[in-house]
């Protein structure tokens, strides 16, 4: 009857970001752009030593500087002196000992950032320098005295699975090293705190990944009830895991409460390198046993994750690492030992890929070794072992998720290879780029593969639920949630969901704050699934009530109604009414909590259904290498990603391309260089991120196989793009030069010396 209308901005369309134009034009207010009347600036004094005893702290000279309103140290923390995501082991301010370079010792509030700088310089801290525990292996066993009351071993986990007496016809072994990567978000840490007039509470605008977790930890340290700390999400310029831990939250709020004035803190780039956790550097040993055809029969492995000075999420990162030892391949038996340890290196925690990046770099290196050992190629060996739905992991957990591993490999393999380099190639297309270091004849091309499995959502029994409220009023929907928008696009997706479920056009997001239940963290590729599920659930509840209302008025059983485009239609009759008309004068509001299915902790043998669901991806990298100078240009990355259902193709492609750039960074340039606990390159001059000239052509296929467990059929897509692209690029470099390179990032000297 009525022609099919193409509705804008529903699920499945490339709806544009509501904040996109503002961001491109520089109009978007990031947290660091906020300002309040009578505002003070806050700044942090940090330890210059990786390990030292604090003999004394003298703040008297700082207090005397004009414009300085407050100086605080550990003595001033009214509540719990420590905080932490899993174990509360990290001091708000160092008290007796500093355990890493850059650890906060004191903070000041003053009328101007320059006054703050002078005040910090005036604080006298006397240190007694202590020996530095910088080698992660030394943290296992008794080689070094405990550097923290909780000891040097943060967590150990063993996995023993299947018939471990099995030996392979073919055995391949490798030692792999993964460097310390930084999340390098562009908007550095920032918060602005506004104290309540009665001094009994505080409102804090903050760039974070998880408002409610910040609120909980702040409440404990500030000794205030959680509801007295009202958090509002400030504009966030990227996160990638680095905003999961507390950084300046407690400091800013405490300075505001002490001074009874608004206080803003904002880290500079150098300080940011010391102000958040990084990706764990790790060493991984793996030994794969296989049949002579190359079928894996057993994997032995040992992981050491350097957690740095404080626990952060190291315990969970470790579990992700060891439980992903096998990669996206069938494996009947395994013996794995994993350690997350404490050192005087910078604290490490969450970063996109969360432990799986390290495992994947090793297992993919192993797959290529296995292919070579049995005389086959990288594609065949992976197809031969490809995991399928219903397979059992080395934790004993069955893979219930859609697992189209073989299809991902085949589809990636079908993507045409890039053209050969022309004989007159422009220097910008060659390794070395604008430096004009090479000519065509110096270059060798290589191809490499990486395939990965990644758990999505939190694991080990954690109920990381999400909450959303949907309000329909006069045909307009307002959505309320505490889901951190860090750039991933949930503020685009949530209204798309409402438009699809409720047939409305006008759907907006309310302020993102703690005035509603938790949404969990924007991490673990979980918000589309969890907060998407919450928004979907809330919208469905509203739709039910709308149908009831319309049914009662028109004497139709509401069960017969459906939303078709922007109308309510009677599927068993002729009644139709637009949603706008049906909801005139009405306000319907419903809140929904989405919980994923329960998971379990692992037992002593690493057995248990610890993960919720899995997503898969395949990457093929083509690189050009200058073997003599050790320089690399990544030419093309082909990828097929298991996404469940595509909800926003443009947004998804953004995740794929961005993740690939980040994984490329770890493959060939991004590394925080730490020597004896000291960070040597805390700047974007020396911590190199890929530029447009380093970014490859990305050819992506989104593989849609509806995920029945997921509320919208869609899997999280944020982490997978950055995981297996790193080993794919390194494998391509190995292929080009015919040399084993066991580490990433690959440095020029690793190639040519």
């Amino acid at each position: 009857m009525s022609a099919v209308k193409t509705r804008r901005d529903v699920l499945g369309t490339s709806s544009l970001r509501p904040d996109g134009n503002a961001k491109v034009k520089g109009d978007f207010a990031f947290t660091s752009d906020l300002h309040a009347e009578n505002m003070l600036w806050g700044a942090t004094l940090r330890s210059p030593h990786p390990h030292a005893r604090i003999i004394s702290i003298d703040t008297s000279a700082a207090w005397k500087i004009g414009g300085v309103e407050c100086v605080i140290t550990s003595e001033d923390v009214p509540g719990q002196l420590t905080y932490g995501l899993i174990s509360s082991d990290q001091p708000v301010f160092a008290r007796d000992v500093v355990r890493y370079m850059g650890e906060p010792v004191a903070a000041v509030a003053a009328d101007h950032p320059e006054t703050c700088r002078r005040a910090l310089a005036a604080i006298k801290v006397e240190y007694e320098v202590l020996p530095v525990l910088s080698n992660a292996e030394d943290a296992i066993g008794d080689a070094f005295i405990p550097i923290h009351p909780d000891g040097n071993l943060i967590r150990q986990q063993r996995i023993v699975h299947g018939d471990t007496s099995v030996e392979g016809d073919v055995i391949v072994e490798g030692h792999y090293v993964i460097g310390m990567q930084d999340q390098a978000f562009l908007g550095t840490e920032s918060a602005m705190a506004l104290p309540d007039p009665d001094g009994q509470g505080v409102q804090v605008f903050v760039a974070t990944q998880w408002l409610h977790e910040d609120q909980k930890q702040m409440a404990a340290c500030l000794n205030l009830p959680a509801e007295k700390i009202r958090l509002v999400l400030g504009g966030v310029g990227g996160a990638f895991g680095a905003r999961e831990d507390i950084s300046l939250q407690v400091h800013t709020a405490l300075l505001a409460l002490r001074t009874s004035r608004p206080v803003k803190m904002q880290y500079g780039r150098e300080e940011s390198f010391f102000g958040h956790v990084h990706r764990h550097p790790a060493t991984v040993w793996m030994r794969h046993h296989a049949t002579k055809e190359g079928k894996i029969v057993k994997i032995e492995a040992r992981f050491v994750f350097d957690g740095g000075a404080y626990a952060s999420t190291s315990a969970a990162v470790l579990i992700n690492g060891v439980t992903h030892t096998q990669g996206p391949y069938k494996c009947p038996a395994a013996v794995v030992d994993g350690y997350a340890v404490r050192t005087n290196n910078p604290p490490c925690g969450a970063m996109r890929g969360f432990g799986v990046v390290q495992a994947c770099f090793a297992h993919e290196g192993q797959m290529d070794k296995l292919a070579a050992a049995v005389g086959t190629d990288p594609v065949s060996i992976r197809l031969l072992n490809a995991m399928e739905t219903g397979d059992t992991l080395i934790t004993g957990q069955p893979v219930e998720s859609v697992a189209p591993v073989a299809r991902l490999i085949r589809e990636t393999n079908e993507i045409p290879l890039p053209a050969e380099l022309p004989s007159d190639a422009n220097e910008l297309d060659l390794p070395g780029g604008s430096g004009i270091t090479a000519e065509r004849q110096h270059i060798k091309r290589g191809i490499g593969w990486g395939v990965s499995i990644k758990n999505i959502m939190y694991s080990e029994g954690f109920d990381d639920y999400s909450t959303a409220k949907c309000t329909l009023s006069d045909g307009k929907v307002t959505l309320k949630f505490a889901t951190s928008e860090v750039g991933q696009g949930f503020v685009t997706l949530a209204p798309q969901i409402a438009r699809s479920v409720l047939g409305v056009t006008d759907a907006v997001c309310d302020t993102i704050d703690t005035q509603i239940g938790s949404a969990g963290s924007t991490s673990a590729s979980r918000q589309t699934w969890m907060s998407g599920g919450a928004v979907d659930g809330a919208c469905r509840l509203v739709r039910e009530r709308l149908f009831e209302h319309v049914g009662a008025k028109n004497n139709i059983d509401p069960i017969r109604f459906a939303i078709e485009d922007d109308e309510i239609v009677d599927t068993a009759g002729t009644f139709r009414m637009s949603v706008i008309e049906a909801s005139q004068g009405l306000t319907i509001s419903e809140t929904f909590e989405h919980h994923h299915r329960k998971t379990e902790e692992l037992d002593d043998n690493g057995q248990g259904n610890c993960h919720v669901a899995f997503a898969f991806v395949a990457h093929r990298a083509v690189v050009d290498v200058d073997p003599e100078l050790g320089l690399v240009k990544v030419v093309q990355v082909a990828t097929a990603q298991d996404v469940g259902q595509v909800l926003n193709p443009l947004s998804l492609l953004g995740q794929i391309e961005g993740g690939i750039a980040q994984g490329l960074g770890l493959a060939v340039m991004e590394e925080i260089i730490v020597q004896d606990g000291r960070v040597r390159n805390p700047s974007f001059t020396d911590y190199l991120l890929p530029t447009a000239l380093d970014a490859p052509v990305v050819v992506a296929r989104m593989i849609e196989e509806y995920e029945p467990q997921a509320p919208l059929g869609a899997k999280g897509v944020g982490e997978p793009p950055c995981i297996s692209v790193t080993p794919a690029i390194v494998a391509a470099i190995r292929d080009a030069i015919g040399k084993d390179i066991p580490r990433c990032p690959v440095r020029p000297q690793d190639i040519c010396l």
Partner: protein
Amino acid sequence: MSVLIPHSITDASEMLAQNPTATILNGGTDLMVEVNFNHRRPESVVLLRNIPELREWSSDSSKGTITIGAGLPYAHIEKGEIATLVPALAQAARTVGSPQIRAAGTIGGNLGTCSPAGDTLPVLSALEALVHLQSVDGSRTVPIAEFMVGPKRNSRQANEVITAVTLPITGQRQGYSKVGVRNAMVISVASACFAVVKGEPRFAMGSVGPTILRANEAESYLASHAADINNVTDEVAKEFGRIAASESRPIDDHRSTAAYRQHAIGVLATRLAQRGI
């Protein structure tokens, strides 16, 4: 902090005479980084950006030279007429930072900072540039080799403005290469300029010593062993690279290792010796 803004070189010289501790600012691509990192807190700054004379350039066909104002941004050097007259300088200018940095940064800044990683300095060294300085006491001209005296040290007096550099227009083969761990916008790990001047090979190396180094032995070797300087054999080019590398004096730091830098400079030498214009 005071900021003085002269509009002529004469004004600038007088301001510097009156403020002998003043810091000179032009494009700000070095100084502002230092200020932002709190490595320097200048009390007094003389800004040279509004002096038109410093942004001029001219060539003298009778002498076969080009004189480039110290305040001319790299963006004007990396392409256009200057690039055809001194291609190696244009190649070096292109490697400096991002387009934004190249719109601000200048050769005067490279000379003033005098870092061993200064991108254009190997070109100035290989072409034996003359550096022009001016103060209230008059003007003087210093050969580049005498200007660069050590790591981040030069022979400019506190009251002098670097006004220009003069380079030969050789009409012969010259080229520049820079190794960094990223394909653009990167500080050099090793850089080099090869040029043929009056038929003689010149080779200067950056980031592999306390200041820019000339590979004198390698140059002599090539001069005596290359039958045709524009058609160097593989064997001779290799040996040239080996000798040049042996003349480098690099260090280990967080950007690279001494071993890699030495190796890389040898490769660059070999390749540049054989590279076309």
